[in-house]
């Protein structure tokens, strides 16, 4: 997507990651990077997913996304264990640019502590951190 966009149904980490807590199962969340992050990175050419079962620690890197020119760590907005990875990204990492909140999701996790959501930002607060 060409224009900045921060959906209101997501929670945001100030380091440009999002979490979508599953309304049907509030103990699981889908994670990804924000429009701002993918725009700063440029065209994503490689995503190396961590294995299912990997433990994520809030604020710690759990994966890498690479553009032609740089590699960037992805931080965990919440703690938990990976239950699914987006296998489609191996063939189409550009989905992270084109659809960062949809087809460009990175992993799904089972949350270790759902109260961690209280430390995350809503769309308005996250957008405000990006300035102008």
């Amino acid at each position: 997507m060409a224009e900045a966009n921060y959906p209101t149904d997501l929670l945001y980490h100030p380091e440009h990651d999002w979490a979508r807590i599953d309304p049907a199962d509030p103990q699981t969340a889908t994670l990804g990077i924000t429009w701002y992050a993918q725009d700063a990175l440029g065209e994503v050419v490689f995503f190396d997913p961590p294995a299912v079962g990997t433990t994520l620690v809030k604020d710690e890197p759990y994966a890498e996304v690479e553009s032609v020119k740089a590699v960037s760590d992805v931080l965990a907005p919440m703690s938990g264990e990976i239950v699914e990875v987006n296998g489609d990204l191996a063939a189409d990492p550009g989905a992270i640019n084109e659809d960062p909140y949809g087809g460009g999701w990175l992993v799904k996790i089972r949350l270790a502590d759902s109260s961690e959501r209280d430390a995350l930002l809503d769309a308005a607060a996250y957008s405000a951190t990006l300035g102008g």
Partner: protein, 335 residues
């Protein structure tokens, strides 16, 4: 020069498929003139400058006494005893000081810093010549030659050289003429390309980048630049270069030495500068090749591992990625 305009991939592909234009005005120029110009350049530059015809272009390295590389550069012979050498921006001041210091030992040579005198635009790609030719007053100089031409209202030194592995020209123009040329060439279809595309293009073509693949810690033979060294000319560093070359020919002492190789990652992953090659060695340049769609790069590896087809293992931030030593260039036009 920005890292990118529209994005590294479209800029890269524009150069491979049509024409891109780079503003490389940050590059430096040193003019060497006078009856002793040839003698000075022969002392400084690794190639045989006496073989450079008027209007010709020649690549060489500038070495320290120990053979360590101070810079890699193109020299153009503008007139019988007037030469222009293009330096890397990061090395320009050191190069100019080196030229001046050694010029003091010659009777009749003037060395002039021309960095502020020239803006430089590189127009590269299969359509590059056609775009520039359309505004030129005479046929463009052939590959590896240079000539003054009028482009629109501007007097421009046009050089049949580049850093992309494509045909094209480099334009040395007065700074106030350069924006007009830039706009005119864009209007005619050249795509503005930035530093990131310049880097991916030169890596596919296996051209060295000073600071990545060349440094004072490495000699030209190690870097695969023995082809531009003519030790019999007695250039500074020639003895050191000769010693390494002779050891290599004799097959002695060479195996502990490293050589710069081109590699491609076998599978997923992108190696980057500084990644370690298992068993000794280091990646000096690495990227994803936009043309080939795989991780590629240049690495210093033990001479014993430098033959084409050798399998390497590269530690990419804790993941071991298999790679293969490949023939240079990694990307060949029309391949």
């Amino acid at each position: 020069m920005p890292v990118q305009y529209a994005g590294v991939r479209p800029e890269h592909m524009a150069v491979r498929e049509a024409a891109g234009i780079f503003d490389v005005s940050h590059m430096g120029e040193i003019e060497t003139a006078g009856p002793d110009a040839l003698a000075l350049l022969q002392r400084l530059l690794s190639n045989d400058v006496a073989l450079l015809p008027i209007g010709g272009a020649q690549y060489s390295v500038l070495c320290q006494e120990d053979g360590g590389v101070l810079d890699d550069l193109f020299t153009y012979r503008l007139q019988a005893d007037r030469y222009l050498t293009v330096t890397n921006a990061v090395n320009h001041e050191r190069d100019f000081a080196w030229f001046q210091t050694h010029a003091a030992g010659f009777k009749d040579v003037q060395v002039t810093d021309r960095l502020e005198h020239y803006a430089m635009l590189a127009v590269q790609g299969p359509r590059a010549r056609e775009l520039v030719q359309a505004i030129a007053d005479a046929p463009l100089p052939a590959r590896m030659t240079a000539a003054m031409r009028r482009l629109g209202g501007a007097q421009v030194l046009i050089c049949g050289t580049g850093y992309t592995g494509e045909d094209g020209v480099e334009l040395l123009a007065l700074p106030h003429d350069a924006p007009i040329l830039w706009d005119e060439l864009l209007r005619r279809g050249a795509v503005p390309a930035g530093l990131a595309a310049r880097d991916t293009l030169r890596m596919e073509a296996c051209f060295h980048l000073y600071g990545n693949d060349l440094s004072t810690e490495r000699g030209p033979i190690e870097a695969g630049l023995g082809w531009c060294c003519r030790e019999q000319t007695g250039f500074i560093g020639a003895d050191a270069v000769r010693a390494v070359r002779e050891a290599e020919v004799a097959g002695v002492g060479g195996l502990s030495e490293q050589r710069l190789v081109a590699f491609a990652i076998d599978g997923p992953g992108i190696a980057r500068q500084g990644n370690t090659v298992i068993g000794g060695g280091v990646v000096s340049s690495g990227t994803l090749s936009p043309s080939l769609g795989i991780g590629i790069g240049l690495a210093y590896v033990p001479a014993a591992s430098a033959t084409i087809g050798t399998r390497l293992e590269i530690d990419v931030r804790g993941k071991i990625r298999p790679a293969v030593v490949k023939e240079k260039p990694l990307y060949r036009k029309g391949a």
